[in-house]
Symmetry: C2
Subunit: 179 residues, 2 copies
């Protein structure tokens, strides 16, 4: 059995753009970096998922500077990169085949955003039979509007989405649990 893969989802500079609005968990990047350094120090497997947006105004488009990984999360030799154009890390690429070929069963997921790409990728990973630990304090999301136009706090969105995922699709853990 291989060691759990650290799967970093959309840790890209485009999410620093003010267009996304108010975010929760400013410590998310520091926690991702701790996990990444820990995984590298142990020689454990690491996979980076990079979003190639097809939206006209997204800073995550491949032709935009924001498509680049955050500096601390820049992949190094031996780390796999898979790209995607939708929320799920498992649609439109060979991630699932790659994991199965390498006999990777256990995944540790971190990244952005909790309720969009992280949630969708965690759900599909769990439903495809992978064993997922989702690191809640190494994820974050942004304020959104509800259907009546009321602002919803990012921390509340984050809390409720983690609660819906935990025990059904994954186990939600903390950075401290893993380092």
């Amino acid at each position: 059995m291989n060691h759990a893969v650290l799967l970093l989802i959309d840790v890209q500079q485009g999410f620093d753009d003010p267009k996304w609005g108010i975010r929760n968990n400013p410590d998310a990047e520091a926690n991702m970096e701790l996990l990444l350094k820990h995984w590298r120090a142990q020689g454990w497997p690491i996979i980076h998922i990079q979003h190639h947006s097809t939206e006209a105004d997204s800073p995550l488009r491949p032709d935009q500077a924001g498509n680049a990984f955050e500096e601390f999360a820049e992949p190094i030799e031996g780390e796999a990169i898979f790209t995607k154009t939708v929320n799920s890390a498992f649609i439109g690429n060979d991630l699932e085949q790659y994991l199965r070929q390498h006999n990777f069963i256990d995944l540790v997921i971190v990244g952005l955003t909790t309720d969009h790409c992280v949630s969708t990728s965690t759900r599909m990973a769990g439903n495809l039979g992978f064993n997922v630990q989702l690191v809640g304090d190494a994820c974050a999301t942004f304020n959104r509007k509800d259907l009546d136009g009321n602002e919803i706090n990012a921390e509340e969105i984050h809390r409720i989405h983690l609660s819906s995922l935990h025990g059904e699709f994954c186990s939600v853990v903390s950075t401290k649990d893993l380092c």
Copy 2:
């Protein structure tokens, strides 16, 4: 172009079991029934998704009475049924191929539960390129505990999940919008 398919997710008697706890939106079934009758009256396509749980204590197991469809949602001749054992209606069966073979692009989704099977199926449908309308008032979910053990109200879970889905994976609409 074919008319939008009405996709009913897990409208099964097992969700009436008290084990699930407090639910929101007691009108969900009446709205599902309105939509189902409308679709049947127009001769539009209808697909039923039936959950075959593999959990030891689930009332939705195939060997349990709760696996049966709700009476009002019992499929009739000409309506397709796909079964699943996980949350996503698109994993472990031929639903995607069936939709593509029949040139069904537009989906109208209703069912249970908003934040588990409905959300997961809506996310995958949108990410696979289908055009999804999710009928918010024809879905429902149950109270859950957050990671600190605090009870979260089903209506709040429902509201926040619909907000995260709307505009990203689907359009959230009402029964009245469609009937």
